[in-house]
Symmetry: C2
Subunit: 417 residues, 2 copies
């Protein structure tokens, strides 16, 4: 593969299940994003079924327009898996068995006390001029072929096999040929602010060309991805650090973490640092807040537990919400959220208490108390604050946003000394 200033590739996704709409092609979108980050331009994407002739056509078409093609899928052991055959045809070569690959597949099966079938061993076949791409998470290796200065890279479809092979093989390979450039990216995760307010505050930064700064909208939070291209990892990291500093100068108070860090993780971490504990009383979220906190390994150090106070009887008997409150202002109200937050803190003996009560929908709304109305109480030994919010979206969105809001309010209190 010769160096190439502005590399163009085409992605070919293979699988009749894609054309039947049985699965959504998230692999192609994920790969497109990774390629964009290293400055490789995707000319177009094509999806074909498990059909040898059409697959060969798609590969030939793609190679007419681009420097190379990346295929996803069709490398498994069944007769429907035709990507190997198609590549052999395009190269004008036969398929041979790679003995080292065959031995590797036999060993993988032997480790599980089974014998590799002849069908499984089809995965060890390759055109003589193609190299296997290692697949640490599956039996089917990828293939890397070159012809007349163009490349064909074939990757398997299961995301847990596909993604590491892209990260470890495809991106470094292509980055070498896009002018020695390396690409690095970092995601900044923001809570407590909407996408449009965040973008407005960032102004001209979102039009920067290197590094780029791109918003990624998520439910209840906003992420920005910084992507830098440079001639060395150190230079790329410097560019990222400069942009991160500029973003933090404007929006630092909303940034709770980077990359894969979740809001629940930083909440658990801060509680641990402060030596403080938490308990929750959930009505409309029904356990989702507890579930999110206990998604974090080690959360048992700070999370005592909670009450899923779904019925009014449980709100009263288990958390101590006064019956007169439930009978007069009702379960979805400021005093109920306050009593839930304070009650769970006292009964479970925690430092912090959170109470959530609201109308997640689709039923149960009234003109006074519409679907999406949620009261969220946050209580410490010093004070209790209750927030009234109306969240948009369906039942799942309202419930998610309510827990996100509660976690953010707690986080704001925890990060201040």
């Amino acid at each position: 593969m010769p160096p190439c200033e502005r590399m163009r590739v085409e992605i070919v996704s293979v699988g009749t299940e894609l054309l039947l709409g049985q699965i959504v092609d998230t692999n192609a979108a994920w790969l497109s994003a990774r390629l964009a980050e290293i400055g490789v331009s995707v000319y177009r994407r094509v999806t074909v079924g498990d059909n040898l002739e059409r697959l060969v056509d798609a590969l030939r078409d793609a190679l007419r327009r681009t420097e190379g093609v990346i295929t996803i899928g069709g490398l498994g052991p069944t007769e429907d898996d035709l990507t190997r055959e198609a590549i052999a045809q395009v190269l004008g070569e036969p398929l041979i068995t790679d003995e080292a690959l065959a031995e590797h597949i036999r060993q993988l099966f032997a480790q599980r006390g089974r014998e590799a079938t002849p069908q499984q061993l089809r995965q060890a076949m390759r055109p003589p001029s193609a190299r296997p791409i290692p697949n640490p998470n599956g039996t089917a290796p990828g293939l890397h072929a070159e012809k007349n200065g163009q490349f064909i890279l074939a990757l398997p479809g299961p995301p847990n096999e596909f993604q590491p092979m892209v990260q470890d093989y495809v991106l470094p390979l292509l980055a070498k040929h896009t002018g020695g450039q390396v690409i690095r990216s970092r995601v900044l995760r923001l809570g407590g602010i909407g996408e449009s307010d965040a973008e407005a505050a960032l102004g001209e930064l979102v039009r920067s060309e290197n590094p780029t700064l791109a918003p990624l909208a998520k439910l209840g939070e906003v992420h920005f991805r910084i992507t830098a291209r440079a001639n060395s990892p150190a230079e790329a990291e410097t560019l990222i650090a400069q942009m991160e500093r500029a973003v933090r100068e404007r929006l630092g108070r909303f940034i709770y973490g980077t990359d894969d860090t979740t809001l629940e993780q930083v909440v658990v971490e801060r509680l641990r640092e402060r030596g403080e504990s938490l308990a929750v009383a959930e009505s409309c979220t029904g356990g989702l807040l507890g579930k999110r906190i206990t998604d974090v390994p080690g959360s048992s150090e700070v999370f005592l537990g909670g009450i899923i106070a779904y019925s009014n009887a449980v709100k009263h008997s288990m958390v101590g919400v006064p019956s007169e409150v439930l009978e007069t202002v009702g379960a979805v109200s400021e005093p109920t959220a306050r009593a839930l937050a304070e009650g769970v803190r006292q009964r479970l003996g925690s430092y912090w208490g959170i109470g959530i009560t609201g109308i997640a929908g689709p039923g149960g709304g009234t003109p006074d108390k519409p679907v999406g109305l949620v009261y969220i109480g946050v209580s410490s030994p010093h004070e209790t604050t209750v927030y009234r919010q109306i969240f948009l979206g369906d039942r799942a969105a309202v419930r998610w946003r309510a827990t996100q809001f509660a976690l953010w309010q707690l986080y704001e209190r925890l990060r201040n000394p």
Copy 2:
């Protein structure tokens, strides 16, 4: 458009944001599934950026191979929206302003107290021979063009505009021309059995050609999709019903629902039918079971709530697990699961009680009590049963499987009179 026994179409998705991987193309998958259901075969799918020349190429390519092409996206008001221009080029026609469409757009804006800009009015342009496709949920109409017996259908990208236009215009139009081949499918959802045991029991049924029977593996359950092709909807339904009967004869006791029905839905439904209530006490699942049950709208009729008994102190004080049990056999034990199930039932006053305690990992395992070990108790006024399971997978998988197992055990009890 002439009648056509086996109609083949190509789908062209338009948008640079797709090629950059900023959004996943769920529209194309959704349309593919709807076309398969009416017996229209998708020859291939192509994704192109907002580039006139490439879009024209993609349309011409598609028309060389198929009876017609359906485009998604690129119909909005901005200069990046080039689908109208591309269709005009393929037809060899200019773009003219459709005065009726322009007036409609002006009115839509006037209703919101605004004036339609010249840019907005670009959406009223069409090639003279193309008909507008009504869009009740947006300003950009679709386009329906025909040339030499082939068709081009152009639809906007926002799913809330796109989907109704497919349902109301595209599918009826194409179904008229497919000479009777229809496709119908149904998913059967199974709990309490693994994929390989289920496939073994189904034997030769999974090799049936029409209808087909295909396994879809899910975490903690197994789905089988029956897909039938026939000359009429009634005939397709008969084929599906025959296969469903054959599957039910062999695996009926494991089938809890069809299509989008979830296990938590059928549990809530059966509880409602029986007039029985439920409460849960969760340790390692931390609220996930309550969350899943309250995902079901209307679950408040039968679900009273629960205790997230994460710490030992909460297990004792809020659910009544005896201190000597926690101190001797420990929190992850048969007696603790039993006390959680019975205690939450008694304290919350429900008919059914579920208790879950285990080691979700990644830390906390010992040789005696490995990661994945979970005790699940199911209690009614008549008896309490505790199950000991070792679930495979990471923290999220162990937690999910534990709730799935608990829901399945409850469901088995609820479906018997």
